[in-house]
Symmetry: C3
Subunit: 670 residues, 3 copies
């Protein structure tokens, strides 16, 4: 197990360029009191360091790097390419994006470069090179941060042309393209690559989330994700040519829809991400996002950004309560982070993020609750040393998360507009979260054999090779869980003919004849084998058993008494199929059976509302015990007698956890 860093990076975005020099030393003094050891710099300085086409100006950045180096910081050096300078828009309007509605933009905001603009590419590459040339050999530059929160989409003419090239590379012939997109439908057959029009509000787009040809729109998402990934790779390679051993990342955004992060992660040295839950985001969703980020490379990740206190861009920006930031940070570490970084270190004086919290608030002093909490956590992390770095999060359950499916499922026209990909995945994740069963979020091309159970909700789009892969996994004893809206289409969004769930039909031992849609005010009922009743929503598969047994039958509507949930033996393994959106209690009943079949165990054998996570290093097991509820909770007996590394105190059977209380316990690995 390779450690990416020598210590837990603790710090965050730092923009001294926005402040007069006298503030810089104040910053250093305050940061020292908080045990801050890292700073992410140069995130939005393109206009500063390249004031015109022909000039580069590094004096200020040199000073910043020097100051931080002197303080022995781990510098996370950004390339500044996420916001273009004004002069570039003025001289080359093509660098701007065209939006979904066909409007070509002007200078403004950020994340505003057309990824296929050659001008943008030329200057972004050159900037990365200049930075790498200058700072590539600085040993304090621990990590390179390309761009920032890649995202959005462009629909300009350059992108249209590049899309055609991308398509030709992919499909080779126009006939293959016509077939893939089923363009015979509505007579959309094209005879020439140049007849292809990108899908937006002026062409195939029906509304932002609906389109006449999902196959085309999914390809456009792939193309857009790839285009930005090319931007990333271009900068990465530019850096690498001057700093061959650089650790290079860019900050991701959890379940952000537009980019296929699994594909991206393959090109990144380490995953980093920005965690910004809302005041009402469930903790299980936060945990799932961490697990997804860890899953991208199956390795520890960096928490590149979180707010010490408050956000600004949510509708309602509640304060984090005392202890909450600490607990949230340990949850992040528990799920695989090796860094805790804030946005930002000093709160900005103007523009749209001035109400976003920071380590140093507008008051400018150490005498704030926020600073005290940051400093206190800094001390704890400092005393932890490097022991956690690189530790694993072992899991026996994998949940598939797949951007192709995310895109495809939400482009479907019918059967039910309320079907949302992340919600469906999260409903399953929540079960494992509440049971303290560790989970890996995995891609469709993961090695399933590592898992006792693979969970694949709404596995709508099933690419080539998936059928044999899943069959072989189950044949060898794997447990596979899937359900409604699975196995429906191939990677071009064309339906697998011959009966749903297509390639999964044999595996699941069922045939889904019809899919009923329920409006929000409607529900159906079902009864489990044990006689308990439940209610279901959204969609109802009408299932015929073809070898499977029913675990629950519908009890209402015309398909009453037909199966709603089934189980099928296949080779040495088992396939569970859940044909409707269950309420959480009912889903729990089914997944309890899945866990029983697969013999997967939770981290510890105890019922508790505490979140308990285990990271394991080569010789040790680290138990994170977190109270993210509003209640005071008892310590499970399993931990009685163990010492909390954070406080040095032994826990007893009487120890209780107040809200946001955290303990970190360590065992020798068996």
């Amino acid at each position: 197990m390779k450690k990416a860093f020598k210590r837990i990076l603790y710090g965050g975005d730092y923009n001294p360029n926005q402040w007069p020099r006298e503030i810089w030393q104040e910053d250093m003094n305050l940061f020292r009191k908080a045990n801050i050891n890292s700073a992410t710099i140069n995130v939005f300085s393109w206009a500063k360091i390249q004031p015109s086409e022909h000039e580069y100006y590094f004096d200020e950045l040199d000073e910043i790097v020097e100051m931080l180096s002197k303080e022995n910081y781990d510098i996370v050096l950004a390339t500044s390419t996420a916001a273009l300078p004004a002069w570039m828009f003025k001289k080359y309007p093509e660098v701007a994006r065209t939006d979904y509605y066909g409007r070509h933009h002007k200078f403004g905001q950020r994340h505003n470069a057309c990824p296929n603009s050659l001008v943008y590419q030329k200057y972004a590459r050159r900037l990365a090179e200049e930075l790498a040339k200058r700072y590539g050999s600085n040993e304090h530059v621990t990590c390179w941060h390309v761009n920032n929160e890649y995202g959005g989409e462009c629909f300009c003419e350059n992108c249209e042309k590049a899309f055609r090239v991308w398509l030709k590379d992919k499909y080779q012939t126009i006939e293959a393209l016509n077939k893939a997109w089923n363009l015979e439908f509505w007579g959309h057959t094209v005879y020439d690559w140049d007849e292809i029009v990108l899908p937006n509000a002026l062409s195939e787009g029906i509304a932002k989330d609906k389109t006449a040809f999902a196959g085309m729109s999914i390809d456009y998402r792939r193309f857009n994700s790839d285009s930005m990934l090319e931007n990333f790779k271009m900068e990465r390679d530019a850096i690498r040519s001057f700093a061959p051993h650089a650790l290079i990342t860019t900050n991701l955004m959890g379940t952000y829809k537009n980019l296929d992060y699994f594909k991206w992660a393959k090109e990144m040295d380490i995953v980093s991400w920005d965690s910004y839950p809302s005041y009402d985001t469930p903790w299980s969703m936060v945990a799932m996002s961490h697990d997804l980020m860890r899953g991208l490379k199956g390795q520890p990740f960096m928490l590149m950004e979180q707010t010490p206190s408050q956000q600004n861009w949510q509708p309602y920006n509640s304060l984090k309560k005392p202890g909450q930031m600490r607990a949230q940070s340990y949850q992040t570490l528990a799920h695989g982070a090796d860094t805790i970084q804030f946005f930002q270190l000093r709160r900005s004086v103007g523009a749209c993020e001035k109400f976003h919290g920071a380590v140093i608030e507008h008051a400018g002093t150490e005498n704030t609750r926020v600073f005290r909490e940051v400093a206190s956590l800094g001390n704890e992390l400092h005393s932890l040393g490097d022991q956690l770095l690189g530790a694993d999060n072992p899991a026996q359950v994998g949940i598939i998360f797949d951007w192709d499916n995310y895109w495809a499922l939400e482009y479907t026209s019918g059967p039910n507009k309320d079907l949302k990909y992340v919600n469906e995945i999260h409903q399953y994740y929540r079960y494992f979260y509440e049971k303290n069963i560790p989970v890996d979020m995995i891609p469709v091309d993961a090695d399933f054999s590592k898992y006792k159970a693979v969970i694949a909700p709404v596995l709508y789009m099933l690419g080539d090779g998936m059928q044999p892969k899943i069959e072989s996994y189950v044949k060898d004893g794997g447990i596979f869980v899937t359900g409604f809206m699975s196995g429906i289409v191939d990677q071009s969004d064309n339906v697998y003919l011959g009966g749903y769930p297509g390639p999964l039909r044999k595996l699941a031992g069922i045939w889904v004849e019809e899919i009923d849609a329920l409006a929000p005010e409607q529900s159906n009922t079902l009864r489990f084998a044990d006689g308990t009743d439940s209610v279901c929503h959204l969609l109802c598969d009408i299932i015929h058993l073809e070898g499977a047994v029913s675990l629950a039958d519908y009890t209402s509507n015309f398909y009453a008494s037909s199966p709603a949930v089934t189980k099928n033996a296949f080779g040495l393994g088992t396939v569970f199929y859940i044909g409707t959106q269950l309420e959480q209690k009912a889903l729990e009943k089914v997944l309890d059976q899945v866990m029983a079949s697969s013999e997967v165990k939770p981290v510890i054998d105890a019922k508790t509302k505490l979140e308990i996570i285990c990271r394991s290093s080569q010789d040790k097991l680290y138990y994170f015990v977190l109270n993210l509820t509003n209640e005071t909770l008892p310590l499970p007996q399993f931990f009685a007698g163990k010492v909390d590394i954070l406080t040095g105190k032994a826990l007893t059977g009487q120890t209780s956890f107040a809200p946001y209380d955290v303990a970190l316990l360590c065992d020798e690995r068996q």
Copy 2:
């Protein structure tokens, strides 16, 4: 009574061009089992049959026509002009539409041709000619289907120019135009035809449904409807020049707002339409739409499209329950259809309609509930033979439906934004529906003398000649029912001065001094002559009696004790005026009086929740008895002893109708 067809057409949209050849014979085999005898083909094949400007390619279509002819199908041959090929957009961008927001579109979707594009017109005409030349003499081509679901609007520069020509033809002088649109208001006077700008979001449009000059926007709707009608006529005439006896239609969409279907129907040989109720559409609304489609020409119509099972483009696409499709089909026949056609015969493999149900589902077999129900209905219809074809739907009540009013009423700025035309008409229709009183939906230029009662809710815009026409109808003994927001404006949307309801004032024997608007949370109360109270909403006319008597007075607000509902003797007839939006119970009370006055009777004299419709041929009366409720309902005694043609069994006093049960009974005509 001329029969349009030799048998009930049973089939639907069929797109073998989207499928490999091996599927075609499978289709034929399956369709045979379902007694399918008709197919609508070539609906979206323009790109296929005209791959470039200079080439036509008919080989595949020839094969399809030949195959269907061999199977003795009634072919409904579409002209394919509803979706333009990609090459045409590329070469002639002007063929695309410009939307309400002024954005010129690119290739994409369908119904995408600017109706005033000369390029589009040239190629559409030529395509219709080529098709007619080739297939015009094929006796299996029973019906020509021009384009598909004409609709939408264009706001491009070509349309602007054509609009000016249309206006000059209509108004002759610029002074007449200024007067008609009241352009002196806000100083909008134009001095030259070229100063006229079409009304959209960049000019007079305030929001999509509001405008500064309703007169102009109504004219633009008329113009747009006329422009598309010219497109239809152009193709129709092209077909006719090669197939002089062709039966030519295009499929309409019920109460679709944008096209004046009464004007269109005059140019069509037969009306056809596509019926797609939502999961929560009341059956009375479905029935009203059928009656409207029958009313367009006062003749039987074709049901060109319905889904056998499920739609895809609604927010929630529920399955049709067992029996529902059959019951719905008989309701359609009952209201005047001579065909039952599905969209579509085989479910598409990709693109946005793949979740739209079809006779052959993705499973591809006859072994589905949907197929069995389609086949079973096919057998029934086959055994019915031609006896129903061309039968009348006699009615003594006419309800006016008028697109000019639809447009004008919904463009008004004030008094109440919640006033919706179709809802108002439907509230009245529902009364007759629930009483099983047959109704004709009629245009303003209908012959009123055929009806004992004419119902005219929200007859807001009253064209030239309407006043004497209604007066003469009532004078001769007719019963006329109207109400709030009637008689307000002339055909240019200018108010009839001298007191509301303008030309109807003398007829109704009242003067409406003011119109109060109620917000959704507000209501007024009223009391009927019999002492019962009710609640009313939306708008309240403040009425002075000028000869009329009051049937109900308001009991709240400052106009308490002034009349809300009135009745006026005029000549030999009577005019009822309902000055506010009544609750259904109260409306029933008033319309009961209307029915008593007019001596109109329901189909049978019995209170029942069954829908009962009578169609009459030259010598027979056909009673359709339909249970469209969720309850089991008893058979009215009137039918006891009669034989159900569909089953051959006699009904008894004990016969009951489960949900979706249907019977078809036949009497000799007296």
Copy 3:
């Protein structure tokens, strides 16, 4: 005290140009019966009086002026520049505006001129000159009405260029601009004035009410307001050059957001405004708008428009009830109006305002409730003579209303999107309204020393010089009330560092460490010194006392027991700080203390739900007593024995006020 008019102007918008000549004399006859003495003409006649670039046509306007002069009307002569003629758009498309979304508009609607179009400016100035030349010396032209309801925004290229000039005038150097807008943030630094792009949806605008750089967007609002003000001044000066003593106004719109009316009022001879409350607008909000309009110049104002009965452009346009228009008119006079004018005198026959009420309704007779009420009020006002004209509204409380704050506060990104400027001001105003305590709505540059108490809710943006100004006011004994989101930013929207509320910290004797945001479903609780509890919403300041005392502490959330409302002695005065959005009862409790401290008294010392307002002339006090509730209310004893000027009858202890009853009582001034 100078009187602007010789009598109370009673009349309104009059558009005989929209009517045939025979109607004109009818109008004159009817108006005479209503004691109408004034007409606002020529508001939208540009197309009529300038039919082309080179022609002016005044014949009709001459006739109208002559007719009204003969009838001894006070003519309010508009310049017609608020809607451009069609020919101007055709010939010079640049006169049209470009909207926020970047769409350049075409001919249509009104208020449609780009304020920075030189073509528009040229022709508008010329038109004003021509009118002034022709009618400037007519003694019946009592008032000039420039344009109409200036408003909206333009985002065209001309405006962009003009914006750069405006900015250069303001900031002098590009460095100053970069600093003011904090352009270092997100690397937006500009190096050249031409790199500046105006903020709209294509650049910095995130949504219509959010932006990346509030400082820039606030400057754009200032610029847009200034640009239109230049338009006004240009016409004003053109008129004045031919009519040096003309009284010149333009009609404003209360709390309309886009224009800085305090800046405008400085350029206007008299303020006039259009009062259009909705069916559910609280009367206190109507009163506040009047007080704001009076406050603009600290002088009586004109009510340029109100509807006699009904509006058309609201969602629900209720009728004014009997007596309501009269009561509302007296409320207007009470708050400082010297005119009562209607939109409009005759209801238009067509276009979008035909459902807007008028003195002469579509019935065209005097025999309507509306006409009778107008005529009756006309008689009353006529008999009042000129005694009220120019009378003052003395007040000891000033509430700050400030457009810079309005703009800045609503551009903030965070902490709570539901924070709305006018609502916050109104919540405070309502207290004084309900207590019948007279209030002046004042600008930030008002002379505070005139007031015993100055109320400054959400004084978010604090310009240069405000701190010493407020300090000196309080030091000298003033009472200053402010609260959450105050003292946060300077005039460039950059935060005052060093702890909230910035420059007010010393004054208020507190430090606000954090600002918590509550979602709509959340609330906190607080307890007052007297032991009563209350609930609060929206935002919660977490306050440290630095000299102040707490009047109420939070009792929930982690900051329970920290102060929510504080009071601080400062010099001879006191500062109250309200750190959260209180419920009305709790706010009342605090403001009762404020009133006790300041010794401010209501108009009369009695608790009543009647609205009671006092205007004072040089020797008299006029008491307006208004019942704007739904209940019958007793007369306060203070007025027993006084004579109601309107009826000539003495009021007694038994007099009661039915809803909409009004009395006007007069005392000699002490």
